[in-house]
């Protein structure tokens, strides 16, 4: 699929390799529309990037996929089943097949790093302690933090917390990993490590990844498929190279980080000069 101003997927043919299929989703919060006909298809084994300016509903999309929110209209299918039609127990069963990395890590602050990573294992399995220990240390080693197992979350830097959260997200060997703004506020070393880890998880473990972010350059290096959201729907999709070559004004503005373009930088406001001179108040 190439980038265009109206690339909404028209086909409704069954997509066998689609792990997540978002079809014509409409969603509003307090009457403010977030999505108006959103279509996204995440294929098994690929890294799918969802990009867009702040406030375009990228995190909301992840909450729709995990069944924490439900679409007002349209359908979100996960592993081939409409998440909104599932009973609570089935939604929980679906979530066990997913992992999610939160923007701030969202580690449980009253238990240490080891216990944070062990948390899902203890909750969902009856594995013996020795096996849990091996499993947790293996995952911590993968993110380079085996030595930090005894630290409390408050003792970790932002980058370390996110790596621990990543270890926790993969400890149950999920089929799908959701990343919510994984690159925000990271130093170059941590950023490089997280990028490599996302790629490694995908290549070594075959985990399908959905990365929600607005860091275009970083995503371009790892994503197989990209969607650019704006105004409640997908304005462009394709490989990062497709997006880079797109002649769409919206895509160009987003990829180059320009303040001028179809996506307004300024929140709607009265005339600047009039407001400064107090004309409105009069």
């Amino acid at each position: 699929m190439t980038g265009s101003e109206s690339p909404q997927r028209a086909s409704s043919a069954p997509a066998d390799d689609a792990v997540v299929d978002v079809r014509d989703v409409h969603y509003a919060i307090y009457g403010r529309p977030i999505f108006a006909g959103l279509n996204i298809r995440v294929r098994r084994g690929l890294i799918t990037a969802v990009m867009g300016p702040s406030g375009t509903g990228k995190t909301t999309l992840l909450r729709l996929i995990t069944g924490q929110l439900f679409a007002d209209r349209g359908q979100v299918s996960v592993f081939g089943r409409d998440i909104a039609s599932l009973p609570g127990s089935q939604i929980y069963a679906t979530r066990r097949r997913m992992g999610m990395l939160f923007q701030n890590g969202a580690l449980l602050t009253d238990i240490n790093v080891f216990e944070n990573v062990a948390f899902p294992v203890r909750e969902h399995t009856d594995l013996p302690e020795s096996l849990i220990r091996t499993l947790v240390l293996t995952k911590l080693e993968a993110v380079g933090l085996r030595g930090a197992a005894d630290l409390m979350p408050a003792e970790l830097s932002g980058g370390m917390a996110r790596r621990v959260a990543l270890a926790r997200a993969i400890v149950m060997d999920p089929e799908v990993l959701l990343y919510d703004e994984p690159f925000v506020g990271l130093d170059p070393i941590s950023l490089g490590v997280i990028l490599r880890l996302i790629k490694q998880m995908n290549q070594a473990l075959g985990i399908t990844s959905i990365v929600v972010s607005h860091d275009v350059q970083e995503l371009a290096t790892i994503a197989d498929q990209s969607y650019l959201l704006s105004g409640g729907c997908v304005v462009a999709s394709g490989t990062p190279q497709d997006l880079a070559r797109s002649d769409s004004e919206t895509v160009h503005q987003f990829m180059t980080g320009s303040a001028e373009g179809p996506v307004k930088f300024h929140y709607p406001a009265p005339d600047y000069a009039s407001q400064l001179l107090g004309v409105d108040e009069a």
């Binding site: 069963a93 979530r95 939160f102 701030n104 602050t109 948390f119």
Partner: protein
């Protein structure tokens, strides 16, 4: 905006909050059954809500008992009945002061801690993370804290009462010279099982109410610094007012 519209706005908001708390309570009860499978979490919360409130409860109990000793002796001697100090102190503590003061202190110490802890867990996405990990935060976070508070409160009231009686005896017997035997025998003969039951029922009801309000406010708090602060304030205000209101109702029931 007219006064009537403002009033109906407050009324609607009050009804909405009452309804939300009712729904939350029903969900919480269901989660309590599930959380019984995690006794370790409940014990941890009994420690957090109970053991960590011990110092303030013991100190308050001691001084309350000492004041009872002083005032009781002063009032009773006007009627030549100062030997009844043990009886007065025991009834005042068991039936009224023990449960009510402990509940008010519990709301200020443990209730606020519960609300702010759960509110901050929401603000930092910890509850959302649990949901995504297919762990129900109602069973893992809310229910153990509610049960911990519910169990801790009667224990704290019992400790408050014991220390309070010791404080009353310290002043009445040690300072004002009432006979020790009279002090305790008067108490033994005057206090009935019904009085003890009244205190226990009050402590359980207050424990349930304060814990429910604290957990509910934390759970429903706006995930912002201001939201958590407001929720904490609401916990103290609502817990205190409801404790005193229910105290009147329960006292009337037991009369």
């Amino acid at each position: 905006m007219s006064t009537r519209v403002v009033r109906s706005g407050y009324l609607l908001e009050g009804v909405r909050r009452f309804g939300l708390t009712g729904i939350f309570f029903a969900r919480l009860l269901a989660a309590c059954v599930r959380s019984l499978a995690r006794p370790r979490l409940i014990v941890a919360q009994i420690f957090n809500a109970g053991a960590r409130s011990l110092i303030i409860i013991m100190l308050s109990g001691l001084f309350t008992g000492m004041v009872l000793g002083l005032l009781g002796q002063d009032v009773l001697q006007r009627f030549g009945a100062e030997t009844a100090l043990g009886e007065v102190a025991a009834l005042a503590l068991l039936k009224e002061l023990g449960p009510v003061l402990t509940a008010l202190l519990f709301a200020g110490r443990a209730g606020t801690a519960l609300t702010s802890e759960i509110g901050l867990m929401r603000a930092t996405d910890q509850l959302t993370a649990m949901e995504v990990m297919a762990v129900d935060p109602m069973s893992y976070v809310a229910a153990p804290r509610f049960l911990g508070g519910l169990i801790a409160m009667p224990l704290l009231v019992a400790i408050f009462n014991v220390i309070g009686l010791y404080g009353a005896q310290l002043i009445g017997v040690g300072l004002l010279g009432i006979d020790r035997g009279t002090f305790w025998s008067q108490m033994q003969s005057a206090v009935s099982m019904r009085d003890v039951t009244e205190g226990i029922v009050k402590s359980v009801v207050f424990g349930a109410v304060v814990s429910l309000i604290a957990v509910n406010e934390g759970y429903q708090a706006e995930p912002t610094a201001e939201g958590v602060g407001l929720a904490t304030t609401r916990t103290v205000v609502a817990s205190s007012v409801l404790t005193l209101l229910l105290d009147y109702v329960l006292t009337a029931v037991f009369l």
